[in-house]
């Protein structure tokens, strides 16, 4: 776990920005640590969930947007369901992922590539097409053999299609993604 000095270079607007995105106030966090104790992905984190919440209150924008934990969260919502102060740590982790992406600070390239590969696949096919998604992910993540061991069993069980799905609405999905990208980049 990382050590971060509080007080220096605080961004006073961070907690409010998160409040706007999540509808919850991080300042109500009690620092009880129940979120961290409940989190199944803690083993992989550089900041515990309660540290993330504290840093949000302290306005440590750069440290949060560049931390690994937000990208390793599996969105299981156990933290939020057990939080006695009802500050929705899972919602904060998700809002921080969105902000981290926009700021170009995503510290876990594989998680960022996962989302990019998913969206690119969706834009082309209208639905998930696992083969294209995995090829995109494997090429762009620099981990070319990810899950290649599963291909034989997946293909033999008819669980991995070798042809893309036929989806009439794929053009409508592409338009949604294009409009989103245009607004985002404007």
């Amino acid at each position: 776990m990382k050590t971060i000095t509080l007080g220096a270079q605080a961004d006073a607007g961070l907690a409010d920005e998160l409040k706007r995105l999540t509808g919850k106030d991080a300042k109500r966090c009690l620092q009880c640590g129940k979120c961290s104790g409940s989190c199944p992905m803690s083993f992989s984190y550089d900041l515990t969930v309660n540290q993330v919440m504290r840093l949000a209150v302290e306005g440590k924008r750069d440290e949060l947007l560049a931390c690994r934990s937000i990208w390793l969260c599996s969105s299981c919502h156990t933290c939020s369901s057990r939080c006695p102060a009802e500050v929705d740590p899972a919602g904060h982790m998700e809002a921080l992922r969105q902000m981290s992406r926009r700021a170009g600070l995503a510290a876990e390239p594989s998680s960022r590539v996962f989302a990019d590969a998913f969206l690119a696949t969706l834009k082309r096919n209208g639905r998930m097409y696992e083969l294209e998604f995995m090829m995109r992910y494997n090429l762009e993540s620099g981990r070319p053999f990810t899950d290649a061991d599963l291909a034989p069993v997946a293909i033999s069980r008819g669980k991995l299609h070798l042809m893309p799905p036929k989806v009439a609405g794929k053009a409508a999905v592409a338009r949604i993604v294009e409009r989103f990208e245009k607004e985002r980049d404007a």
């Binding site: 199944p40 599996s74 969105s75 696992e130 799905p165 609405g169 949604i176």
Partner: protein
């Protein structure tokens, strides 16, 4: 009571979890649940879309709410908890006119609200109900010991899912018991299996899924039963990866709850996609068919 829903299978159910879709349809035929296919449905955006932006996620889901409305139904059912969360989230968030306007800008056809969504588990548990389900059973599951594993999203976030107890759900246990199985005490009902982290954090599923399987085994279960396609894939197709990491040779098969209901309702095995499971369910099936042999005294599986 008429049970008719717009049906949203979700992407997994036409690919890696085809057996979930097949068994949902088979069980629906047996229980007179009418599934009205949503024409030209598309992906709800899954986890990546809401990690990128809430509007993108809502727009991808709302397109399907619009398509579902065209069927004349006001309620969708879907087998996938993640699709359900996205569809419901879009409908709930778009109750805010400001958010709805920003989402509708991304859509060809605006979503004007009014489309509900429910899980297929909830349809069975509340729509069909345990009494009627038990009456329809023709081939009881003979005391088969099962660990009902709900995963994260069947009950969480509680405010959105509004179904069962978020820490100790019992709906699937009761459904399986109505079919003649014995649900074991299983403390990891709602622990996360690693979800979609398996690809980008490769230690996640071997560690988390491995714990769930070991707990099911030590609880005395002969099978794990799930209601989520990602939980199923992680615990079943990724078993070799789990075993490689943990060194534990756990051979528990992982059924969809609809496959076991289908067996209990006497649906043909060919309709339930049992041959698609990666970890062989042969031992369980053999014991069920022995128990159902009319020439012998019924033998419990356990």
């Amino acid at each position: 009571m008429s049970l008719r829903f717009a049906y949203y299978p979700g992407c997994s159910q036409v690919a890696s979890s085809a057996e979930y879709d097949a068994s949902v349809r088979s069980v629906s035929r047996a229980l007179n649940i009418e599934l009205v296919d949503i024409p030209d449905w598309t992906c709800c955006g899954s986890t990546p879309a809401h990690n990128i932006d809430p509007r993108l996620s809502a727009a991808l889901s709302a397109r399907n709410l619009v398509q579902a409305k065209a069927t004349g139904q006001d309620m969708i059912t879907t087998p996938c908890p993640s699709c359900l969360a996205n569809l419901r989230n879009a409908d709930h968030k778009m109750e805010s006119p400001e958010f709805a306007a920003r989402v509708n800008r991304l859509l060809d056809e605006p979503y004007g609200g009014g489309m509900g969504a429910t899980s297929f588990l909830q349809v069975i548990f509340e729509g069909v109900g345990l009494e009627r389900l038990a009456r329809e059973v023709v081939r009881p599951l003979a005391g088969l010991k099962v660990a009902a594993y709900y995963g994260c999203l069947t009950t969480r976030p509680a405010g959105l899912m509004a179904f069962d107890d978020e820490e100790n759900p019992t709906s699937m246990d009761k459904v399986l018991e109505a079919c003649g199985a014995k649900a074991v005490e299983f403390p990891f009902k709602t622990e996360c299996c690693g979800a979609s982290m398996a690809t980008s954090c490769r230690d996640s599923v071997p560690l988390l899924g491995g714990r769930i399987l070991e707990m099911a085994k030590s609880a005395g279960a002969q099978a794990v039963v799930v209601a989520c396609p990602l939980c199923q894939l992680n615990l079943d197709m990724r078993r070799s990866q789990i075993t490689a990491k943990t060194g534990e040779g756990n051979t528990l098969p992982v059924f969809y709850f609809t496959q076991l209901i289908g067996l209990a309702l006497g649906r043909p095995e060919s309709e339930l996609g049992l041959d698609k499971l990666c970890v062989s369910p042969a031992a369980v099936l053999e014991c069920l068919s022995k128990a159902a042999n009319p020439l012998k005294e019924p033998q419990p599986c356990a």
